[in-house]
Amino acid sequence: MNFTQQLLVPFLYALSWNPTASSEQTCAIDSAPTEYSLPSLPYAYDALAPYISSQIMTLHHSKHHQTYVTNLNKALSLESSLTESADIPTRIANQQAIKFNGGGHINHSLFWKSLVPASSPHADTSNAPNLAKALNADFGGLEKFKDKFSAALLGIQGSGWGWLVKGVENGKLDIVTTKDQDPVEAKYVPILGVDMWEHAYYLQYLNGKADYVKNIWNIINWNEAEVRFEGGRADVFQVLQSKI
């Protein structure tokens, strides 16, 4: 564990991971930042079944995502109260809390919109004609892209995400993986993200994560993917403007 992490561990615990912890650090001050809130799912919890169970969706959205939002707001509030502070170690530790919880909020917000019930017209790849052309050019076709993307997802060691991204500068498609809740780097536009944390599939698929990866192709929102492909980062991250 490095110095920053050592500082961070007790801090995070006291701040947020202990469900019985007091909320004294969240006291409102005049300069407090606006708060983020949990975005509503664009479909019912059971709408992605049988590919992702209602139980998984309920916990994933109402508990896991909510916790990232709650802890992001706490970290932002703390950052705001520390701006005049000379307590540099605490401020550095808090940067990591913002990255982790902010990343968790960004990634899950993008993920929900990347998925759609299998019965929806948007689950059909014909909704993404321009993206399909680019996948042909950069991967040799949709099926080859799926194979490569699936392999990348299954190669993640530990918790993380797999993403189809578009280069901001060159517009080229690529596959990247990010560890834990690291968000996609600023040089990319995220087109499609898949959560490979165990909490995303374990209650239904247990250790059979290859089946989760295989099944998720049935519930990809290709309409959303096309919109993101055609747009830039500002368009994609509009999903995060769910501030109070």
Partner: protein
């Protein structure tokens, strides 16, 4: 499933099996935990359901027979590839294989140590350490409760998958708590004394997102005798 504590010997030999240089002469030790230098899945020294209610039988069965088994199989596969890369003096391939050996070899080491440092209450699980380890914990933390508090904070603070360990600095002999990402093993400067798995697969079927409850409950099945043997 065997419940004999003699399996401890088997665990140790399984650990050595991960090191190619010692695997050959270890072959044939008690427990038959590997053959021809290959790592094999060690038997649990208790039944899958024996750690209930702290850890459910279903979690233990999947964790041991599926997750740990996959680390063992992958370690053997990548070790074989590493051997071939060495034979052909392919340095690039050897370097590319190192993270895979670290991950799957670490997964094998960590889980082997984990099974050993847990025990049902009927086999001494829970309670408190004794002897020199107890004195060292008292000296460093001022009591077992403080150590548990620090471990649980470390576990709760892991961002993603990983482990928390009570470790001993091999040079100074001092105890401490450290977290390791993913399956990074406790090797080198630090000696593993007691490890707790904070991967979601270790608790999710029973505790879902309430991981703090798992971290609290697991102390009921910690095998302090195993920890005492590791402390030097």
């Amino acid at each position: 499933m065997s419940t004999t504590l003699l399996r401890t010997t088997g665990f140790r030999s399984a650990l050595r099996a991960a090191a190619p240089s010692t695997s050959a002469r270890c072959a044939g030790l008690a427990g038959a935990t590997f053959t021809r230098g290959k790592a094999t899945l060690p038997d649990l020294p208790y039944d899958y359901g024996a750690l209930e209610p702290a850890i459910s039988g279903k979690i233990m069965e999947l964790h041991h027979s599926k997750h740990h088994a996959t680390y063992v199989n992958s370690l053997n596969s990548f070790s074989e590839q590493m051997g071939a890369a060495r034979d052909s003096e392919n340095v690039a391939a050897q370097i590319a294989l190192q993270p895979l050996i670290n991950f799957h070899g670490g997964g094998h080491l960590n889980h082997t140590l984990f099974w050993e440092n847990l025990a049902p209450k009927s086999q001494g699980g829970g309670g408190a350490p004794s002897g020199e380890l107890a004195r060292a914990i008292e000296g460093h933390w001022g009591g077992l409760g403080k150590l548990q508090e620090e471990m649980n904070k470390a576990l709760a603070g892991i961002q993603g998958s990983g482990w928390a360990w009570v470790v001993q600095d091999a040079q100074t002999g001092a105890l401490g708590v450290k977290t390791y990402a993913n399956q990074d093993p406790v090797v080198g400067q630090f000696r593993p004394i007691l490890g707790i798995d904070a991967w979601e697969h270790a608790y999710y079927l029973q505790y879902e997102n309430r991981k703090a409850e798992y971290f609290k409950a697991i102390w009921d099945v910690v095998n302090w005798k195993a920890a005492e043997k590791r402390y030097k």
